[in-house]
Structures are given as structure tokens and as C-alpha cells.
């Protein structure tokens, strides 16, 4: 026998299972970019409050002001799903992770442990309830019959072997989830229920809908036998260590990390895998505030498998981001990926070794801070000084490197961030940069503005000025931020 555990209104239940007080309220889940997010799921109370799928937040608030509206949370759904799996595993090692909102358990032999089939079903349902999930449970002789029964009938359903066709017969044909085209054909034929599909002659049906039609019919009859596909525990490369006493220095931590890394790398190697991301999880023991969690992620540019390098990188990272309290527990997880297979061209210049490059970049980051290391990418906008730092990555050299145009223009040195300055203006032109820097000559104003469609709108009035500084003449680019009404020095000219 197989048991299906199905959570109706799963997306709502994902919230309700963590906040049981919501069970007594109208709850609706929305999805989409605000302000155009729409309801995608709701509970019965919300339905009673006349909320409808597809309503926007504003419409829902107008229709049912008391309703609780939540944005869809994939994380909470994942947690709820994990609970569902836990519930299954509590009864059998053979649990099929069929969908987000339902699982199938191989219930063979459970009757000998837990009583008759309805008692088995009841206990499974109780287990679900204890995890905060309201479920439909159905037991049948094959996984699919159990799934359809759990979807179609509320509460607990037990279908004795041989009674599947009759018991499932009243269910609507859409519950079979046939492909849209097939569903359309069945509708046209006036086939609305499992029983009607079950009654069609087999040969004639296969002449019209092929094997797919026959399979659907077997499903509708509840006689489709298939092997359960038990969920395999995901392949995780995680090592953790609880320390006997908290450590507050990096050196002893490095010793612990080295052990964990070696272990993980050995496991990865045994499966011919490498990693491109390490996640460090530390439980901090603060005498005053109790325990807290400290996490760091280490992204690698290419898949690697070098525990020494990993240790150095983690060490550098922790040096620049030290934990705030002694460490009581360490957990290290590696994302498993296929190792890098790359061969450089014979006649191409040698690129730096990825591992060493990463180490160098990590050292640089430790010195100048993370956001100042990388490649500056110039942005396509009129906004002055537009660039963004991007992660430095070695790319395969192209045949034609762009040739910079020769230009006789003066060199501009940009102040980042721009320097705030007080400017005296006369007849619309700047005449002095305070303190005491008289403008000898000026050119401008140069007007530029942009991003008027967003809240990032900006408007500048720029001038190029020559000012006397001590005994020399200096050339500056200054601008007035028209939205703030303040002056800045943007750059100096050589």
C-alpha cells in the first residue's frame, strides 16, 4: 500500500505552519512585482471573505481589509516541504518527493506496526498536524491512486485494493493533470470524470489518443502500477565540529578549519568533484548576549580542490571580517561541482594560475576592502563618472584587442567621492571657490540630467574653472547638483 500526504493551499500553509495563529484568519499569498502583485493562493476563510485569485493587493485590501496578505516565500515553502518529507520519513525510509505540496510513502507493512489501514492513515495525518501542517491523507494500492484520492477527497481516505476505479470515479478529469490538448479533447468528448474516461473502450482510445491516452485511462481507473521513486538524500559536503571550549583566536580556528577542509576535499575527490563555493557557519558564544550565528560565504572563480588554498582564503577573509565573540561550533559546507577541465592554447599568453590569482585578490581585498578590488566597468549613461566595479575574472584573450584611440586631450583626475565645495556665483558664473580660490576663467555651464523616470533622477550644471592656488593655476571641473543645490569639485585637469 501507498500513502499520499497532500497539503491543500500549500503556499498558505507554508506561512500558517510557522504562525499557527493565522489559521483563524483569512490569509492570501501574493506573487509578482509590487505594485502589481496578485493573489496566487488563499485559505478557505479568505475565500469566504470573497477574495479571489488574481486580485491585486489593493483590491484585496478593499474587499477584505482584515485579511492577512503575504508575499510568496520560497524559503518558507522549502521549510514546509522539508517538514512534509520529515513526516514521511518518520514512517518509512521509502518516501517519494513527488511535488512541493505532496509526497508518497511506501506504507507496506505499516499495518502490522500501527494497526489497520485507517489507523495508519490517521497516525500519518496526526504526525502532519504535529508539524503544523493540515493534510489530506489517502491510502491506496498504488502511488497514483493514492495521490488522486489525497487531492480529491478531504481528510482521510482509504481505498481497498480493487475498489480504485469505483472510488476515484467521481473525481473531475482535470485532477489527472493531462496535457492541455488532451484535456481539451476529453472535454469535447464530454468526458468530465475519471469514471467516464475509465469506461471508454481501450483499443478505440489508443487509436485516438495513443499510449498517452491509455496511460491516462489506467490512472483514471486507479490501476496504473509504477515503481515508487524514493527521494535520495541530497549529496551534501558538510562537516561540523562542536568545540569543547570556545576559541577566540584565529590560529586555533585555522587548525580546526584545516581538518574540516581536508575531510571535505577528500570526500569531494573520492567522487571526482570539486567546489566553487564554501560556506562557513560559526556559532559564537558571547558571555553577555548568549549564542549567535556568524556566517561567511567564499565564492571561487573556478572549481577548485585545494584545502591549503581554501584555508588561506578563509583565513584572509576572517582576518578582514573577524567574528565578534568566541566560537563554540564550526560548520563548513562545500557546493559540489564538476572539476574544471581546461587547456590553454599553445600559442596564447599564459594567464595567471587561478588559485594564485584568487589568493592575490583576497590579499588585496584584505588591504583595500572588498568593494575596491575588481575591474571598473564603464556604464552607458550621461551621468558623470559612471562606472561599476565588477569581479575580476580571467577571460580568454580575443584575437583583436581594442586599440585605444590616440587623443591629445588633457587628462582628467576624478575625485571619488566628489569634494564638496562652496562656490560664489556672480551673473550666473562661478567667481570663487571658497576659501580664497578666485576663478580666473571659466567655461560652461554644461547641463546634463537623466534618469527622470526613476527616483534616481539627477541634474547637474557643470563648469570648467581655472583657479589660482597659491602661486599656480589649477584647472577643475566643478558642478552644482541642482536637486540638492550644492557644489562639488568633480575632477582636476592635468
Amino acid at each position: 500500500m501507498f500513502a499520499c500526504l497532500f497539503v491543500p493551499d500549500f503556499r498558505v500553509e507554508a506561512f500558517v505552519c510557522l504562525e499557527p495563529e493565522l489559521r483563524l484568519q483569512s490569509v492570501a499569498v501574493l506573487e509578482g512585482k509590487p505594485p502589481l502583485s496578485r493573489i496566487i493562493a488563499m485559505n478557505d476563510r479568505a475565500r469566504d471573505a470573497a477574495l479571489e485569485l488574481g486580485m491585486t493587493r489593493m483590491q484585496a485590501q478593499l474587499r477584505a481589509p482584515e485579511a492577512v496578505l503575504r508575499m510568496r516565500s520560497p524559503e518558507q515553502e522549502a521549510t514546509a516541504h522539508a517538514s512534509l518529507l520529515d513526516c514521511g520519513h518518520a514512517f518509512s525510509p521509502r518516501v517519494e518527493d513527488t511535488a512541493l505540496d505532496h509526497i508518497v510513502i511506501d506504507a507496506s507493512g505499516l499495518d502490522r506496526l500501527l494497526g489497520d489501514l485507517s489507523q495508519v492513515a490517521q497516525q500519518i495525518a496526526q504526525r502532519g498536524t504535529s508539524l503544523g501542517l493540515q493534510t489530506n491523507v489517502a491510502l491506496a494500492s498504488n502511488p497514483d491512486a493514492a495521490i488522486y484520492a489525497a487531492h480529491g477527497f478531504p481528510g482521510i481516505t482509504v481505498i481497498p485494493t480493487g475498489a480504485e476505479t469505483e472510488r476515484l470515479g467521481t473525481l473531475p478529469i482535470e485532477n489527472l493533470f493531462p496535457p492541455p490538448e488532451t484535456l481539451e479533447t476529453l472535454y469535447r468528448w464530454g468526458v468530465r470524470t475519471f469514471a467516464q474516461l475509465a469506461a471508454l473502450p481501450e483499443v478505440a482510445l489508443s487509436q485516438r489518443l495513443g499510449q498517452e491516452g491509455l496511460q491516462l485511462q489506467k490512472l483514471a481507473r486507479g490501476t496504473f502500477a509504477r515503481t515508487l521513486v524514493p527521494a535520495e538524500a541530497p549529496l551534501t559536503f558538510q562537516e561540523s565540529m562542536e568545540l569543547e571550549y570556545p576559541i577566540d583566536l584565529l590560529e586555533p580556528l585555522a587548525f580546526v578549519l584545516a581538518r574540516l577542509l581536508e575531510h571535505i576535499c577528500a570526500r569531494l575527490e573520492s567522487r571526482s568533484l570539486a567546489t566553487n563555493a564554501l560556506h562557513l557557519w560559526l556559532q559564537l558564544e558571547d558571555m553577555d548576549r548568549g549564542s549567535s550565528i556568524f556566517e561567511r560565504d567564499l565564492q571561487l572563480p573556478v572549481p577548485m580542490l585545494n584545502p591549503k588554498l581554501f584555508l588561506q582564503l578563509l583565513h584572509l577573509d576572517l582576518k578582514s571580517h573577524p567574528p565578534s565573540a568566541p566560537i563554540g561550533k564550526v560548520r563548513l559546507t562545500a557546493d559540489a561541482v564538476r572539476p574544471r577541465f581546461a587547456q590553454g592554447g599553445l600559442f596564447l599568453p599564459v594567464a595567471p594560475e587561478a588559485e594564485r590569482l584568487e589568493l592575490t585578490l583576497a590579499r588585496a581585498k584584505g588591504v583595500v576592502s572588498e568593494e575596491r578590488v575588481g575591474v571598473a566597468k564603464v556604464l552607458d549613461t550621461h551621468r558623470p563618472d559612471p562606472f561599476r566595479m565588477e569581479r575580476f575574472e580571467v577571460t580568454a584573450p580575443t584575437d583583436k584587442a581594442p586599440v585605444a584611440k590616440q587623443s591629445g586631450r588633457v587628462v582628467k583626475r576624478i575625485f571619488r567621492p566628489p569634494v564638496s565645495v562652496v562656490v560664489l556665483v556672480s551673473n550666473g558664473c562661478p567667481v570663487r571657490l571658497q576659501p580664497h580660490r578666485d576663478v580666473l576663467a571659466c567655461s560652461g555651464p554644461w547641463h546634463s540630467s537623466g534618469e527622470w523616470w526613476s527616483d534616481q533622477a539627477w541634474q547637474h550644471e557643470e563648469w570648467d574653472v581655472a583657479v589660482r592656488e597659491k602661486e599656480e593655476v589649477a584647472l577643475y571641473r566643478i558642478y552644482r547638483d541642482m536637486t540638492k543645490g550644492r557644489w562639488f569639485i568633480a575632477a582636476s585637469y592635468d
Binding site: 505594485p35 478505440a204 495513443g210
Partner: protein, 1050 residues
């Protein structure tokens, strides 16, 4: 210092300018700029509108174009200004040549050689960012720029080349200016300051940025430096420009100097209408006289001598004026087109004011006798007006009209005839979609937002776009939504691209390409001018409108069906006049499908007007206009007609003019005659009066004319009260009045359609169904109406139906067989292949049908099965589901193993469709049902609910509380009805009308707009046999899932 803007680009540069020419002219006048030059991209699209607006605002208008030209550094935009007529013609020919050698929608490019060829009369500027100077400087430096200027100076002459300077507060532009000034000095070329205007107000930069994104298929977030750097391309005053160019005063001074040199006016196009080729020994006048005389005999010989004399005199008078104005050629050309149509069996009829002309009637151009109807010739043509007459020809829409257009092309050649353009502008939804795209909204959001742009005709104060957004659950306080709304509004009515007008043809003697630039049209070998038909009329270019009229096609088809099936010949010109059976039907407002008199408003007027003769129909056609309701003319007329009000005249002298319309002026001709009689206006002056009062009315002109009217009436001794009454009726009415001649032309078609419907219902209904979409009602309503009138309508059947609806014998009568064109998704070629295969040998089974007609797709077979069109193929007991069962086997492509295995049972295991399922299938598969009306199945339930059938309502007393119900076939919210909504509900017995008060509408908006079936509860109004229910309560009625449709006039 005076400054003239000589480089302004309007929204007619299509996505490269953001203000309309009218706005530019008005802004120009507002800042006291004496002149402005409109230089649009690769065309003079906005020139007529700019010219007219400039005349109105009393500024001088100059013209030119930014022409794309290929150079050694790539394409550049060369701004050219027109100095004289030769220059204008050269510019038009240059653009035409460039446009016509590339396919439609490609931009086309010219070369320096061509520029040299057409340089006479043109002044060249060195352009802006994409101009020849800027591009040469950027790519080849100073030397290349020098070379470019030398070349341009050689091409246009040193006096006709100006080095253009613009100052938009941009560094790179100023650097270029420095180079340009130095080059100009070294070459001795004059400098010219311009501001490269692309919009009037700085705020419109946002619209230009949106356009830039649309042009480059980007969003605002990804367009980067394609967008404007700032908003300096607005129109600036002379003082501002002088301040900007304080260091180069000559650049400003040169603008006025150059402006003075630009002498060309758009009134000097050099357009000439082509002469009509006549036989030796004749000139056009004599030839026209002969043709008119021939027609006069045919048209009037049956009439009495006095009438003939009157007609002859009128014709002579018209011919004299035509000769005097040199218009004989025009009449002959139109006559020639009409003759071609007649010779080729194409139904044709002139409409509009041409029906005032006895010459047109004699030549067969129009079908209304203006002498018999005492129509006013001056409405059509007058000496004072000095403009070309306007003759519109109605032709059957579709292929026949196409043949007539082809004939004109063949006759006048590619450069002698062209279609007028149709400027497509941004309207509600299109603006919303484009703005949404540019703001980066995803497809789903776009689909959600764009339908919210409301387009009901009537808009009350609460009917704002903001309100619709709120209703749909969009938060209008959100910045992105607000920006979206704001941009949608800003884009409204701006030109989007140039389309082709459906029927306007321009003909010209010699080269039309030197009058207005030509472009390729979407059809091969066709060209279209850059101006729309209003612009052509404003520029006094003669056009002939060959308009497609669905009803003409219906009439033509009906006559052909009558000939084929009834073996009778019907000649529309010989229909029995004033047939009482026709008028009996009209008086009952039983007019569904009839031309011009089928609308809800017409139907509510017919029982009160009770037409008994043709002239009543002319009045009927004219009376339902938005204006007379506003002008309080309909009610007095109907009251007098019903004998409830005395017939009086503002002055006894006006009795002859107003007698026919019971003292109430209803037609434009009457208005003209009133002015002529009461105030001694000449015919031409009266027509001027009508125009002054028309749509483009000007307060000043109206006041001038009113003074003149009063003076004339004073001279004729008309009392001040009567004067007031006359002026009141003229001013309130002139805006909306119909020309009597036009009404008469349409009334002829209305009568013909009514006569054919009364006498040949089957043929008429078949033709009406074959020419959909047209008219006021959906095919489902037309079919139900025909059935109620006794026509048997049979469903689509693959053994009998053609592509079109046909008639088939039925017990000595004819039944209508619905054609396969009504099977949703059916393609004409598949249907025709089926008919051809059937003609060889009928099909014995669905299998055979699928095998023999390989053109049929599975979806088509399935639809045919669903709507019962295959039932006849399987024997007597086959039902739709049996057919669908067989279709699935026939199309599934069973493998060889199973192919030979017969079905286990002869019949399918599927159950028969219920009546409801059949209804749903009928409506989803054909949009109609030939079986009982959905309401018929629920009549008992309706009776229990106290719902009266539509045909019972006329028998109930006025004021009784009633309930009516049915499928909503029409929803209307006319602009003139102050927010009232009119519903038409159809049941199996007929149509019930309901009136919804604005308050009730607001309360039940969703129900009223979205429900297919409604119950309306309210007070029955039965006034003069016009029946309607004044609703108190609206309820949805859920009786079927069938997707019935309504015609909503939003």
C-alpha cells in the same frame, strides 16, 4: 535682436520630434518670433499643418527637410531649406527618388551627386550631431571637415551654405562650434545660429526620450547615451538665443537675413489637375457638355416639359460655372471612373455634396435628382469659394473597389496618381503599450495595464484614467505607475507612423513627385503621398475618394444572389418607389441590417417619425446626429410631425425653404438658403457662413458673419425676435447638420436595403452575413432577426455549405445555409478545397473527408465536428460527439498495426451533447446559433421570475413595473447622452431596450460591462410606440456558458 528659428523638427519627424506643428507655430507666435522653418526628417509630412497654423498665428513659415545622405564617413543628415518654388519641387523630387527606390519602411538614402542634381533653390545648413560637418570632424578631423565644406559650397553655391551653430550646453558641441567657426572664417562662409528645436517645452524632452527608446528598441533603463543629455532642444526666444551667441552676433543676425531669402510659400505648390483626353474636334468643355446632354436625356426625358425645362436650366447654369472655373477635366475624370465601374459591373454611387449637382446626376456620378429634390448647387460648388469640389464615390468594399483604384493607377501612371496618407497617431492603448514597454514593464504587466485606458465615448468626471487604474487594483500613487500615466497622456495624438488612406486618390498633371514627396505604399507598385487627405484638401490638391462601403457590397451581392437563385433581375435604379410594405416595416422600427437606420437611436425615432415616403427617409437618415439633439431640433420636428405643435416659420419668407421640414431647419442646404433669403447672402457667402460655423469655428469670424446676417435681415424687415430665432438655429445647427444631398444619397441606399430585406430576405441576409463585419449588429443577431422574420437558417454542413453563406431550395422557398467562413479558425483555402473535392464526389465518411481534403487541419476538422457540420457524414443517427470521436481517429494517424482494426462499436461510446453543450459549441465555434435562442430553453423559468418576453413589452401599459431579460447585444454610452447607458437585450421573441441612469451604471458597472445575460427591472416607457425599460435594478442572469457577444460602443 530678432532671431528666427531655422532648424525645428516636429513630431512629424516620426519619433524624432515631440511637438505638433500647431504647437510649434503657437509657441513661436507667443514669443514674438516672426518666422520659423520646419525641417522634418526625410519629408515634409508636417508642412501643411505648420503652414495653416502659421497663417493663423501670423508668423511666416519656412520649409525644408533633413535629408539622409551617404558620405565617405557614413550616412549624414543634411538640412535643406527651400527658398523658392523650384527649390521646393527639387526637394520633393529628391525625397521621392530616395524613398521610392527602397522597399516600404526602409529609410532610403541619397548621395552627394543627387544633392547636386537637385540643389537649385535650396539652402544647405551644415547640420547638428549627425550633420555632414560634425560627422566629418569626428571621423576625419579638421582637414576632412574643410573638404566637406568645400564640397557642399561647390554643390549649393557659397551663398547657399551656412555653417550651423547650436548651443545646448554640451562640451563636445561647443568644441565642434569652435572648429566650425574657424572653418567658416577660413572659407568665408556665413554662420547661422539655430537651436535644433525638437520640442516646444523643456518638459517634452521626456517624450522625446521615450520616442528614442521606441526607435532603438530599448527601454529607458538600457538606452544609455542614446537619450538626450539635457532638455535644451526646446524653443528659445530671440533674447535667449542672443545671450547664448553674444560672442557671435552675426550668427543671430544671419537668421533674419536668411529668413528674408526664403520666399517660398506652401500655397505655391505648382499643382495642376490633369486634363482629360478628348476626341479630336472637342475640347474638355464641349465634351463635358455632350456627355451631360446624353445623361440629361436619360435622366429627365420621362419628366414633364416644365420639369425638363427647369432641369435644363439648372444644368446649363452648372455647366457655365464649371467652364468658368475650368473644372470640366475634373468632372470628366470622375465620370470616366464611374463609367469604368459601370462597364465592369461594379456598383458605384457618389455621395456627399456632389449630389447637389444636376451635372453629376446627369453624368451618372450620383443617384439623387437634385432638381426634383430642389437641392442647392452652391453647397457643392461656388465661385466665391475658389476651391476644388469634392466628389466621393462609394464602391463595394473589397475586390471591386480595388479594381477601380487599379484603373486610376493604370490611367495616370505611377507619378501621376497616388494614395493619400493616413497619419497613425498614438491613442489610448497604443500609447499605453509603448510607454509600458519603454518603462520596462514585463509582458504580463503590459497586458494588465494597457486595457485600462478607457475608451467609452462618454466620460464623466469620475471617468479618469487614474480611476480605471485604481479600479483594476493598480496603485496610482506608486511613482512608476504615475510616470506611466503621465507619459501615456503626453503621447496622445502624436504621430506614430504614416499609413495609407483607404480610398483617397490624388491625381496630378505631370509630376506629382514635385508637388509632394511620394513613398512606396504597402501594395506593390503603389505610391502614397506624404500628406493625409485633410492636408491635401487644405493645399487644394484635388482628390477623388473611392470609398469602400460595406452596404454597397451587400447590395451588389444580394442582386447577384437573386439573379442566381430566384432567376430574377433587380435594378437598383428601378426599384418600386414608395413601396408601402417597406414603410410598414420602417414604421415598426424593424430595421436590423438596413443601411443607416438600424441603430438603436434610429430605431427609437422611426416609430415617431413614421416614414411614408422617400423624403421622410431622407429626413430620418439626417435626423439622428449628435447635433440636433444638442440643438433642440429633433423634438420640435417630431412634435410637429405628430401634430402636437403648430408649424410656424421664423419669417414668412422662409416658408418655401423650411416647409418640407415643417419649419424646422434640418439640412445644411436649408441653412444656406435661409441666409440667402433672410439676409441676401449669395450662394458662396452662405457656404462661407456654414464653414465659419463648422468644426474649425473661429469666434471672430462668427461675430463678423453674425453682424452681416443681422444687417441683411434688418434690410429685409425681419423682426428682432425672428432674427434671434434664425441666428440661434443657424449657430446651434451648423456644426452638426447633414447636407440634404448626402442624406438623400444615403437614403437611397437605406431604401434599397430595406426593400431588398422585405422582398428577398434570404438573399439579403446571406449577403449581409457574407460582408461582415459591418453595421451595428453581430451576425448572431442578424440570424436571429431573419429567423423571426420567417427565414429558415441551416447550420454549416460539409456536404452543403460553401465558404460563403448561400441559399438553397426548401419546399418551394429558399433557406439560408451558413457558410464555412463562420466556422472559427477555418481557412478559406481549406474550405474551397473541400468544396472542390465535394463537387467531384460527395464524401461518405469523416475518414474519407480527412483523406481527400488534405488541406484541412486537425483543428478545422475538430471545429467542424463540434459545430455539427460533420453530422451528415455518418448516417442519420450521428451526433456531434460521434463525429468528434471519428475525427480524432481520422486525424490521429493510427499506426499500420491498428489502422485496419475497425471500431469495436459502430457508434461512439460518447454521450450526445446536451442542449447547453450544443449552444456552447455553436457560439464558440461559429459565434452564433441557428437553433433556439439561449433564452428559449429557460422561458418557463423566466415566466416564473416574472420576466416579460421582448415581444410582449409593446402590449403593456406605459409606466408599468416590468422585468426584461436577455443576452446583451448592444451596449452604448453615447457622448451626447450625459452618461446614460443604453442596452439592447435579445431573447427568442425580439429585442428589448433598456435605459440605465448614470448613477445606476456607476453602482453596477462591473455587472453591466462584463455579464453576457442581464435582467433589467424598471418602469416601462411606451411613448409613441417607442418601447424601453427605464432601469431601477440590474441583475446578472446565469443561464448558459455560451459565449454570446455584444457590440459595445465605447
Amino acid at each position: 535682436m530678432t532671431y528666427v528659428e531655422l532648424h525645428a523638427r516636429s513630431a512629424f519627424s516620426f519619433l524624432e520630434g515631440a511637438s505638433l506643428p500647431e504647437e510649434m507655430a503657437a509657441a513661436c507666435a507667443a514669443i514674438d518670433m516672426p518666422a520659423m522653418a520646419l525641417i522634418d526628417c526625410n519629408g515634409v509630412y508636417g508642412a501643411p499643418r505648420f503652414h495653416l497654423a502659421a497663417e493663423k498665428t501670423k508668423i511666416r513659415s519656412h520649409f525644408g527637410a533633413d535629408v539622409l545622405c551617404e558620405t565617405e564617413f557614413g550616412p549624414v543628415r543634411v538640412p535643406l531649406l527651400v527658398t523658392n518654388q523650384v527649390g521646393y519641387q527639387n526637394l520633393c523630387r529628391l525625397i521621392s527618388r530616395m524613398k521610392l527606390r527602397v522597399p516600404r519602411k526602409s529609410e532610403g538614402i541619397t548621395t552627394y551627386d543627387e544633392l547636386a542634381q537637385f540643389a537649385t533653390g535650396l539652402v544647405c545648413l551644415t547640420g547638428e550631431d549627425q550633420g555632414p560637418l560634425a560627422v566629418a570632424l569626428a571621423n576625419g578631423g579638421f582637414t576632412a571637415a574643410h573638404r566637406t565644406l568645400e564640397q557642399l559650397a561647390f554643390t549649393f553655391g557659397r551663398n547657399n551654405l551656412f555653417v550651423e551653430l547650436q548651443r545646448h550646453h554640451r562640451r563636445e558641441q561647443e568644441a565642434r562650434n569652435q572648429a566650425a567657426v574657424s572653418l567658416a572664417r577660413s572659407l568665408g562662409l556665413p554662420l547661422l545660429a539655430t537651436n535644433g528645436v525638437r520640442y516646444v517645452q523643456p518638459a517634452a524632452r521626456q517624450v522625446l526620450d521615450v520616442f528614442t527608446c521606441l526607435r532603438n528598441h530599448r527601454t529607458l533603463a538600457t538606452a544609455g547615451r542614446l537619450l538626450s543629455r539635457n532638455n535644451e532642444c526646446c524653443l528659445k526666444s530671440g533674447a535667449e538665443m542672443a545671450r547664448l551667441f553674444a560672442d557671435l552676433p552675426e550668427a543671430i543676425a544671419n537668421t533674419t537675413e536668411l529668413s528674408a531669402r526664403l520666399e517660398f510659400k506652401l500655397t505655391e505648390l505648382g499643382y495642376q489637375f490633369p486634363p482629360y483626353p478628348v476626341p479630336d474636334g472637342d475640347d474638355m468643355n464641349s465634351f463635358l457638355r455632350k456627355r451631360t446632354a446624353d445623361g440629361e436625356i436619360a435622366r429627365y426625358s420621362q419628366r414633364d416639359a416644365a420639369f425638363r425645362e427647369r432641369a435644363h436650366k439648372q444644368i446649363a447654369r452648372e455647366l457655365a460655372l464649371i467652364e468658368k472655373l475650368g473644372l470640366a477635366g475634373y468632372f470628366l475624370i470622375v465620370w470616366d471612373i464611374v463609367r469604368f465601374c459601370r462597364d465592369n459591373g461594379i456598383l458605384v454611387q457618389g455621395r456627399g455634396s456632389a449630389a447637389n449637382s444636376a451635372v453629376c446626376y446627369s453624368l451618372g456620378i450620383t443617384a439623387v435628382d437634385p432638381v426634383g429634390m430642389e437641392l442647392l448647387f452652391e453647397r457643392f460648388l461656388s465661385e466665391e469659394r475658389g476651391e476644388w469640389p469634392d466628389i466621393d464615390l462609394d464602391l463595394p468594399s473589397g475586390e471591386q473597389r480595388e479594381r477601380a483604384i487599379q484603373y486610376v493607377y493604370e490611367r495616370y501612371g505611377k507619378l501621376g496618381a497616388a494614395m493619400t496618407a493616413n497619419v497613425i497617431t498614438y491613442r489610448g492603448r497604443s500609447a499605453a503599450r509603448e510607454v509600458g514597454k519603454v518603462l520596462g514593464f514585463d509582458a504580463e504587466t503590459l497586458n494588465r495595464l494597457s486595457p485600462l485606458v478607457n475608451s467609452w465615448e462618454y466620460k464623466d468626471e469620475s471617468d479618469t484614467m487614474e480611476r480605471h487604474f485604481n479600479d483594476a487594483g493598480c496603485d496610482t500613487s506608486h511613482p512608476r505607475i504615475r510616470k506611466f500615466l503621465q507619459l501615456c497622456m503626453a503621447l496622445q495624438d502624436l504621430p506614430r507612423h504614416l499609413g495609407q488612406h483607404s480610398g483617397g486618390l490624388v491625381v496630378c498633371q505631370g509630376r506629382l513627385d514635385s508637388v509632394v514627396p511620394l513613398e512606396p505604399a504597402s501594395m506593390p507598385d503603389r505610391v502614397v503621398v506624404q500628406w493625409d487627405k485633410e492636408d491635401c484638401a487644405d493645399m487644394k490638391i484635388v482628390k477623388v475618394d473611392l470609398l469602400g462601403l460595406g452596404m454597397m457590397a451587400v447590395l451588389e451581392d444580394t442582386i447577384s444572389v437573386i439573379h442566381d437563385q430566384h432567376r430574377e433581375n433587380v435594378d437598383l435604379a428601378q426599384l418600386p418607389a414608395d413601396d408601402p410594405s417597406v414603410y410598414a416595416v420602417l414604421q415598426k422600427a424593424d430595421t436590423i441590417g438596413m443601411f443607416q437606420i438600424e441603430s438603436r437611436a434610429q430605431m427609437s425615432c422611426l416609430p415617431r417619425l413614421r416614414p411614408v415616403r422617400f423624403y421622410d427617409l431622407v429626413v430620418q437618415v439626417a435626423i439622428i446626429r449628435p447635433g440636433p439633439i444638442v440643438g433642440q431640433m429633433v423634438n420640435p420636428f417630431l412634435e410637429r410631425r405628430l401634430g402636437r405643435e403648430d408649424i410656424t416659420y421664423p419669417h414668412p419668407s422662409l416658408e418655401p425653404v423650411l416647409k418640407r421640414t415643417l419649419g424646422v431647419p434640418l439640412f445644411q442646404e436649408q441653412l444656406l438658403r435661409v441666409a440667402m433669403i433672410a439676409a441676401n447672402f449669395s450662394g458662396g457667402e452662405a457656404e462661407e457662413l456654414r464653414r465659419a460655423m463648422g468644426f474649425k469655428r473661429s469666434e471672430k469670424r462668427m461675430r463678423e458673419i453674425e453682424v452681416k446676417l443681422r444687417r441683411g435681415m434688418q434690410e429685409n424687415g425681419i423682426s428682432p425676435e425672428a432674427q434671434e430665432q434664425i441666428i440661434q438655429s443657424i449657430t446651434s445647427f451648423a456644426l452638426y447638420g447633414f447636407p440634404e444631398s448626402h442624406a438623400a444619397s444615403f437614403a437611397l441606399l437605406a431604401y434599397a436595403s430595406a426593400w431588398l430585406k422585405c422582398h428577398y430576405l434570404g438573399a439579403f441576409t446571406a449577403s449581409l452575413l457574407n460582408n461582415q463585419p459591418m453595421g451595428f449588429y453581430h451576425p448572431a443577431t442578424i440570424v436571429k432577426d431573419a429567423q423571426r422574420h420567417g427565414l429558415r437558417v441551416r447550420p454549416i454542413d460539409v456536404l452543403r455549405s460553401d465558404w460563403k453563406c448561400t441559399l438553397e431550395p426548401d419546399n418551394g422557398q429558399f433557406a439560408l445555409r451558413i457558410g464555412m467562413r463562420y466556422a472559427r479558425g477555418m481557412r478559406q483555402e481549406a474550405a474551397e478545397a473541400l468544396v472542390a473535392a465535394r463537387a467531384m464526389r460527395p464524401f461518405a465518411s469523416i475518414d474519407e473527408l480527412a483523406r481527400r481534403v488534405s488541406e484541412l487541419r486537425k483543428t478545422e476538422l475538430v471545429t467542424l465536428g463540434e459545430i455539427g457540420a460533420l453530422n451528415a457524414l455518418g448516417g442519420a443517427s450521428v451526433h456531434r460527439r460521434d463525429a468528434l470521436w471519428q475525427v480524432e481517429r481520422a486525424v490521429h494517424g493510427t499506426g499500420p498495426l491498428l489502422r485496419e482494426i475497425p471500431d469495436e462499436h459502430d457508434a461512439s461510446p460518447l454521450s450526445r451533447m446536451t442542449a447547453e453543450e450544443r449552444l456552447v459549441a455553436d457560439f464558440s465555434g461559429t459565434g452564433m446559433t441557428v437553433g433556439p435562442h439561449p433564452m428559449r430553453y429557460h422561458r418557463e423559468q423566466m415566466n416564473r421570475m416574472g420576466i416579460s418576453p421582448a415581444n410582449q413589452l409593446p402590449h403593456l401599459p406605459n409606466g408599468k413595473l416590468v422585468r426584461a431579460a436577455g443576452s446583451v447585444i448592444v451596449r452604448q454610452r453615447p457622448g451626447t447622452a450625459k452618461g446614460f447607458v443604453f442596452l439592447s437585450l435579445e431573447d427568442e421573441t425580439g429585442i428589448a431596450n433598456a435605459i440605465i441612469h448614470p448613477d445606476l451604471y456607476q453602482k453596477n458597472r462591473v455587472t453591466l460591462v462584463s455579464e453576457r445575460f442581464l435582467i433589467v427591472e424598471g418602469v416601462l416607457q411606451n411613448l409613441d410606440n417607442v418601447i424601453s425599460v427605464k432601469a431601477h435594478r440590474i441583475l446578472p442572469l446565469h443561464i448558459t456558458q455560451a459565449e454570446t457577444t455584444s457590440h459595445d460602443f465605447h
